[in-house]
């Protein structure tokens, strides 16, 4: 049984009349790669700011490594690395100057800790004399991660590191996180991309300041609770509405080149018949394993009811 590295209890935060965090409770273990999955405005950034001691909650408590994020903010800042959602390095300093600056602020030296960032930093080292504002998106991301790591933190907080980044760079970034996790770091990462959930040890699905579910990606999928079918037909433009109109359909939505239906019962024969009656041909219909995005959509609907 591992101890909780991060403990969040009844955390609340509002901005005037907008509730950003509404009673958040969570425990994260040492060495976990933990994902917060949710859209813009869900409360991810507020939570990361509170955990990194940059913002004070209205109510509730949060601690990391046994240190309270409000009372012990000075110690906490030495032990965490924080990568904000917006590129926050000095655009007119070079790559190397930025790294030296962040090491200096924390009283660390690049030379002592180079081994920590070697894999990542060596990819941008050929451009070390370039102002950071002139780097491409993927390179900025690597530099920001290097700067967040240079003082040898125990916990890494990464706020939407892959937003606006293309599918290939995203894959590379996640490969880097896997390596850091193997080195023993506890990593909290937020993302609006549902497909990244499967790369985490555990995830929290977050929407409108509330955690809808916390689990490992596999168990979240296993607990989906309804048959999920993927359907295609000759009349794709009518398929969504026709599927929605059936009594046994709980929810239907487009998914890639097919339509997904969350069904009350798994009866494909009846479904195909119903669609044939509505004039569809070449009906392809299979029961599939849900993705985290399916889980999120189902939870959103359940919450609304």
């Amino acid at each position: 049984m591992q101890t909780a590295e991060i403990r969040i209890e009844h955390l609340f935060k509002s901005y005037q009349n907008i509730v950003a965090l509404n009673d958040i409770n969570l425990e994260i273990r040492q060495g976990e790669l933990f994902g917060f999955i949710g859209p813009d405005g869900a409360g991810k950034t507020t939570l990361f700011r509170i955990l990194s001691s940059l913002m004070i909650p209205d109510k509730g408590k949060a601690s990391m490594m046994g240190l309270d994020v409000v009372a012990n903010y000075k110690e906490i800042r030495k032990k965490i690395g924080y990568m904000p959602g917006r590129f926050s390095l000095y655009q007119d300093l070079t790559v190397e100057e930025n790294l030296r600056f962040f090491a200096g602020v924390h009283g660390a030296s690049i030379e002592d800790n180079y081994h920590l960032i070697k894999d990542i930093y060596s990819q941008i080292e050929p451009f070390k004399d370039r102002p950071s504002g002139k780097l491409s998106g993927g390179m900025k991301q690597k530099l920001a991660l290097s700067c967040a790591l240079i003082h040898r933190p125990k916990v890494l907080l990464l706020d939407e590191p892959t937003t606006g980044v293309d599918a290939v760079s995203r894959q590379e970034f996640w490969a880097m996180l896997k390596k850091l996790r193997e080195a023993g770091l506890t990593i909290l990462v937020s993302t609006p991309y549902m497909d990244e959930a499967s790369l985490c040890d555990r995830v929290a699905l977050i929407q409108k300041g509330t955690i809808m579910d916390v689990a490992t990606p596999d168990s979240m999928i296993a607990q989906f609770g309804f048959p999920l079918i993927s359907v295609r037909s000759s009349k794709m433009n009518l398929l969504l509405d026709d599927l929605k109109s059936l009594a046994e359909t709980k929810m239907a939505y487009r998914f890639g080149d097919a339509v997904h239906g969350i069904m009350e019962l798994d009866n494909k024969k009846m479904l195909i018949e119903a669609l044939l009656n509505k004039g569809h041909e070449k009906i392809e219909c299979e029961t599939i394993t849900p993705t985290i995005e399916d889980c999120f959509l189902l939870l959103m609907q359940t919450k609304d009811e």
Binding site: G38, P39, D40, G41, A42, S136, G137, G138, M139, T163, G164, V165, D166, A167, V168, S169, Q171, E172, P192, Y193, M194, D195, Q207, N237, Y253, R254, F255, G256, D257, E293, F296, L297, M300
Partner: protein
Amino acid sequence: MEAADSKTVIRVRNLVKKFGSFVANDNLNFDVEKGEIFGFLGANGAGKTTAIKILCGLQKPTSGEIRVAGYDIYDQADQVKKNIGYMSQRFSLYEDLTVGENFQFYGGIYGLKAPVIRQRTTQLLDELGLTHIKNKILKEIPLGWKQKLAFSVALIHNPRIVFLDEPTGGVDPLTRRQFWEMIYSAAQKGITVFVTTHYMDEAEYCSRVSIMVDGRIEALDSPSGLKKHYRAESMNEVFVKLARSGKNSR
């Protein structure tokens, strides 16, 4: 002056754009037809933004022949701008104006008369089912609604083409789907949609998709055609196969 074939609303021949020795767009050739949903994909740094700026008449190419909505982008850039709409995730609406004022402002920019703006605002808000928030300040409404409003505002002057630059970045999965319903209905009315996205499942929703790698268009076909050609299960697989070969990107 209309293009000879009025079905073609974007016509690009040998488009080249250089910045010093760097070739951002390396001989692009493609046509987009009326009512198509054209997905314009590529890795970060592949040259998409440059190409979009040129198609919108905001930047001149180094060479090439480009017609947008029937107008030449060198001599008739103003006509091009009047016939296109543009929306991006970054720059959309004014946060401290009301919903109605945003429509009024953009309508005014496009030189629409006050009664036309009123009529279009009513019609577009009605289609969204958002008439009740006309007098709300923009910063008070949820992000999902803002994105839909931004799309409607981009259509206020009845453009023939609308450019959407990562329109669904960061929105929840339900709103993302509702947004695509809006794209479909615009396309069904004959508006051509030119869209970029990092969500590869959205690439599946397009009529045709082009994928840029290092300034060139490496692939252009329907999603099913691309998946067949690259023997891939999904557009994500197609994209990763192609983009991995790039050098400039990322």
